[in-house]
């Protein structure tokens, strides 16, 4: 298993958010995690990426058999974990190109590969920007500053394309997108599916899953997974709402 989450309990400021979440994701698989607001979706995403405001009180997370929770956020990223942010952060004064080159080179150094110079970086970046329909001009602007909602999300997928993660966590990548942007983002995501790469799509709505069809779908409620199934589960959620599923209160996974 690439990712094994076992009986994970986590809290923030003493308030429990995840309560016994378990999940197994294998290489090449795309899993959707759906859930209502407050179910713990974003907590799960941020926690896996290494945000240290969450305190794990019980359980474990293994990434390729290694203790993921013992690794600092930056090391997780260099080891192939990637989070596409629900709210990408604006970094005034920092050129997108500079930021991305720093990220790529941090990873390359970690894996003993030579760093990219500015020219190499531009060549790679130009090719990958096409994938998500971003204009090259955005490379020279400050990271996410003044970007439209769609541009921010596409910039996230662009980063994912550049950093080539093994485990990609997409936190509400569909939120705030119009249908054209959603399609572009979905195409970008689909093009990055590969047998070596696992993806976790975290979403509130089913509509992204029309474009990116998951191998497995899970419903998260009250901090644990209450239902798991195939892609059809998303449609059931869409029809019946989360309410009925929370009532099942099935044991985790």
């Amino acid at each position: 298993m690439m990712l094994s989450i076992r009986n994970l309990h986590a809290e923030i400021e003493g308030k429990p958010i995840l309560r016994g979440l378990s999940l197994e994701v294998g290489a090449g698989e795309v899993h959707a995690i759906m859930g209502p607001n407050g179910s713990g979706k974003s907590t799960l995403a941020q926690l896996l990426a290494g945000r240290d405001v969450y305190k794990v009180t019980q359980g474990e997370v293994l990434y390729d058999g290694r203790d993921l929770l013992a690794m600092p956020a930056d090391e997780r990223a260099r080891e192939g974990v990637f989070l596409s942010f629900q709210y990408p952060v604006e970094l005034p004064g920092i050129a997108n190109s500079y930021f991305l080159k720093a990220a790529m080179n941090a990873k390359r150094r970690h894996h003993g590969r030579p760093e990219l110079d500015a020219m190499d970086f531009l060549t790679v970046a130009r090719a990958k920007m096409k994938l998500v329909g971003l204009s090259e001009e955005l490379l020279h602007r400050s990271v996410n500053e003044g970007f439209s909602g769609g541009e921010k999300k596409r910039n996230e997928i662009f980063q994912m394309a550049l950093l080539e993660p093994r485990l990609a966590i997409l936190d509400e990548t569909d939120s705030g997108l119009d249908i054209d942007a959603l399609r572009t983002v979905a195409e970008g995501v689909n093009s990055l599916r590969s047998p070596e790469r696992a993806m976790l799509l975290i979403t509130h709505y089913q509509r992204l899953l029309d474009y990116v069809v998951p191998d497995r779908t899970h419903v998260l409620a009250g901090g644990r997974i209450v239902r798991s199934g195939g892609p059809e589960l998303a449609l059931e959620v869409e029809e019946r709402g989360y309410k009925s599923m929370e009532e099942h209160n099935a044991p985790g996974a």
């Binding site: 290494g50 600092p72 930056d74 990223a77 952060v89 004064g93 930021f99 990220a103 970690h110």
Partner: protein, 459 residues
């Protein structure tokens, strides 16, 4: 020899000793100006923290050592070492025009002074020796001899510095560099560099004044610069204070702008145990505009004080102040932004911003906007913020594999970037961006050799 400190008396004594050798010693107006300055210093003394303008900066550490004047023929470092020190200067390409001083004294072999290009660059001492009367209308015009404290001390010892005159309507593209190199001498020393920049009507030029120190140097740079910006002239003025971490830097820049002129000023405070930089701009003609930007980086227990004074003396004048501070460890940054709008000076626009980034738990930022407005048709706003690095931003960088140290460095550089943006020409901006990045990369690691004599100012 035991050091017994510096005072008005020790400076007066030193002046008696060296004054026969000062430039233009035979010139009556000059002698009289020096004498009036020494009298003003004797009468008013050095500022103390009881002086409202010096409330947060104590100069006691500056005066703790006996600061000795450096005579022109005393040179400690060999040419090779000086060139090595000079190589730290920012934006100084192989063909750049530069006038270089060592421990306050002009050094022709290190300088590269182009002639016949619409600019005249010379050493103040050379000019005062050759024809002092030429400078009589200018020296002390904006910084009067009876100015207080350190400014008076500068005038009392006025001897060498750079004189830069830009011919009317000349468009000078390449920056003109004035570089002060300070060496680590056996005994604590002082220099009083005095620059005069006259940008005549309709000209356009960029002048860079930089102050660089040899590591471990114990000295005081007591600098003064007078600047005249003629009608419709556009002057870029860049000031880089990168003194030794063990040194002191006190500076006064006095600017007067004629109608329709523009001053684009950038000040970088990187070095010195304690520094105080005052920039006073008088907008003396209608439609004159000044943009004053600054960046100061503190670490250890260093103290950086920037003091701006903009005088809107005429209607339809505009001013912008943007000073940013980054304070690591237990460093302390002080910013005072004074804006005066005189009676009858209508249709004024003045803005002021002073954001500070506190990195160190013990770092302190003091910010003081001072608005004195005697007219009613005035748009004036100011804002000061004091913050820490955003956790969200930090996590965003970490989540991309960038380690914590580099992430902090990138965020600080991002904070600083706004200040550098307005630097022209682009080649100088690029050099400045690199210089700022290099300074930020070592921020917090710059261990000060030995003990710094009581840095931190008033505590």
């Amino acid at each position: 020899m035991a050091s017994s400190g510096s005072s008005v008396e020790t400076f007066a004594r030193d002046l008696e000793r060296v004054r026969g050798g000062l430039a233009g010693a035979d010139s009556r107006w000059l002698t009289s100006m020096r004498r009036r300055a020494m009298e003003a210093l004797a009468a008013g003394g050095f500022p103390t923290v009881r002086d409202e303008d010096w409330k947060y900066t104590s100069v006691l550490p500056v005066l703790r050592d006996t600061l000795e004047p450096v005579l022109p023929d005393e040179s400690r470092l060999d040419a090779e070492s000086l060139r090595s020190l000079l190589s730290n200067a920012t934006g100084l390409g192989a063909d750049a025009t530069c006038i270089v001083f060592v421990d306050g004294n002009f050094r022709a072999p290190l300088s590269r002074i182009a002639t016949g290009t619409g600019v005249r660059v010379s050493s103040l001492r050379d000019r005062l020796e050759a024809s002092p009367a030429d400078l009589e209308p200018w020296l002390g015009k904006y910084l009067p001899a009876d100015a207080r404290g350190f400014a008076a001390l500068n005038t009392a010892f006025l001897d060498d510095g750079a004189v830069i005159e830009i011919v009317a309507r000349a468009q000078i593209e390449k920056p003109i560099h004035v570089v002060y190199l300070a060496t680590a001498r056996e005994r604590a020393w002082v220099a009083h560099p005095r620059d005069l920049i006259v940008a005549h009507e309709g000209c356009s030029a960029v002048v860079v004044e930089q102050y660089l120190g040899e590591s471990g140097g114990k000295y005081l740079t007591n600098a003064a610069t007078e600047i005249s910006v003629g009608a419709n002239a556009v002057l870029g003025h860049l000031r880089i204070q990168d003194e030794a971490q063990t040194a002191f830097h006190v500076a006064r820049v006095e600017v007067e702008q004629a109608a329709g002129s523009t001053l684009v000023s950038h000040t970088f405070g990187f070095g010195a145990a304690l520094s105080r930089t005052e920039i006073a701009v008088k907008l003396a003609g209608e439609e004159a505009e000044c943009r004053l930007s600054g960046l100061y980086l503190g670490d250890g227990s260093r103290h950086l004080d920037h003091h701006l004074h903009v005088d809107h003396a005429r209607p339809r004048t505009r001013s912008e102040q943007l000073y940013k501070g980054v304070l690591e460890d237990k460093s302390r940054g002080v910013f005072t932004g004074r804006v005066v709008v005189r009676a009858g000076a209508q249709k004024i626009k003045a803005t002021q911003k002073n954001p500070s980034l506190l990195l160190g738990a013990g770092a302190v930022a003091e910010t003081r906007p001072q608005l004195e407005i005697h007219a009613d048709d005035v748009q004036c706003n100011h804002g000061a913020t004091i913050g820490r690095l955003s956790e969200d931003a930090l996590f965003y960088l970490l989540s991309r594999g960038i380690d914590a140290r580099e992430a902090r460095r990138i965020l600080v550089a991002g904070f600083a970037a706004e200040v550098v943006e307005g630097v022209v020409p682009p080649s100088l901006r690029a050099a400045m961006t690199a210089a700022v990045a290099a300074q930020i990369a070592t921020l917090g690691d710059r261990t000060v050799p030995g003990t710094v004599p009581g840095t931190g100012g008033a505590r």
